[in-house]
């Protein structure tokens, strides 16, 4: 029974897929635990208002959420378009006040970055699609904001953060 290399690769991919999922879970676990530890610190912080603690809870719910990346991939470009439209027509484009306040806190920065890593690691395929979409809008955004860190903060707060609050609204 001779086996064609194409058949071998195709069937090998199916056999390897569960091991890939197993390895991905193992690889992501230190990131998720760091995310949990940051979340615990924020939840126990006496300086954080209840509204922002509820926000931390919503972020934490996404730690294993495989649906978040597809949700982002589908909705990100229309949301960006809507934001640009609102800004261009002079309408209010503000995000929820607790999200605005929370994302401006220095102690929340690492937590928000870990959230992005966790949702990306829960569905790398769609996370790659999100990255591709981001590349499409990154260059124009860089021209407008003129700072890579500003673009990064914009994406983490205005898009991913906003989606984190919307993802559990239903």
């Amino acid at each position: 029974m001779g086996i064609d290399p194409v058949v071998f690769v195709a069937l090998g991919a199916i056999v390897c897929y569960p091991f890939y999922r197993w390895a991905l879970t193992a690889l992501m676990q230190p990131v998720r635990l760091a995310f949990a530890d940051e979340g615990v610190q924020l939840l126990n912080s006496p300086h954080l208002p209840e509204a922002e603690k509820a926000l931390v809870d919503r972020y934490l719910d996404d730690a294993f959420d495989w649906k978040f990346a597809p949700f982002t991939a589908i909705t990100m470009l229309p949301i960006l378009g809507w934001m640009v439209f609102k800004a261009a027509t002079g309408r209010d484009s503000s995000i929820p006040i607790e999200l605005e306040q929370f994302s401006s806190r220095p102690e929340a920065e690492k937590f928000i970055q870990l959230h992005v890593l966790c949702v990306a690691g829960s569905n790398p395929l769609f996370a790659a699609i999100v990255v591709f979409e981001l590349l499409l809008v990154l260059l124009p955004a860089l021209l407008v904001l003129r700072s890579l860190s500003a673009v990064s903060a914009f994406v983490e707060t205005r898009i991913i953060g906003w989606l984190a609050t919307r993802n559990h609204a239903h």
């Binding site: 029974m1 086996i3 064609d4 194409v6 058949v7 195709a10 069937l11 991919a13 199916i14 056999v15 897929y17 569960p18 091991f19 999922r21 197993w22 879970t25 193992a26 992501m28 676990q29 998720r32 635990l33 949990a36 530890d37 979340g39 615990v40 939840l43 126990n44 603690k53 809870d57 934490l60 719910d61 730690a63 294993f64 395929l125």
Partner: protein, 80 residues
């Protein structure tokens, strides 16, 4: 999510992606022909996939979720 449903989702995804790539590269007929001639291999691989997913992947993910949740003992994190 029930592990069997999760396994079905993963199986559909990997097969869809795989045969999408094979179709685009025009070599999918070779795989179909080979599987027609060797149906037992396809059955064995399918059984292996579901067994590995139910045992290996599901148990790993459950353990990871339990470890993650254990970090919140003593906090006021609400459970969904």
């Amino acid at each position: 999510m029930h592990p069997f449903i999760s396994a079905c989702g993963g199986f559909t995804l990997i097969n869809g992606a795989l045969f999408g790539v094979l179709s685009l590269t025009g070599v999918d007929d070779e795989v179909y022909d080979w599987l027609e001639q060797n149906p037992a291999v396809g059955v064995v691989i399918t059984i292996f996939y579901f067994t590995a997913h139910m045992i290996l992947v599901h148990s790993k993910e459950q353990a990871a979720k339990i470890e993650f949740d254990s970090r919140f003992k003593g906090t006021r994190r609400r459970r969904r």
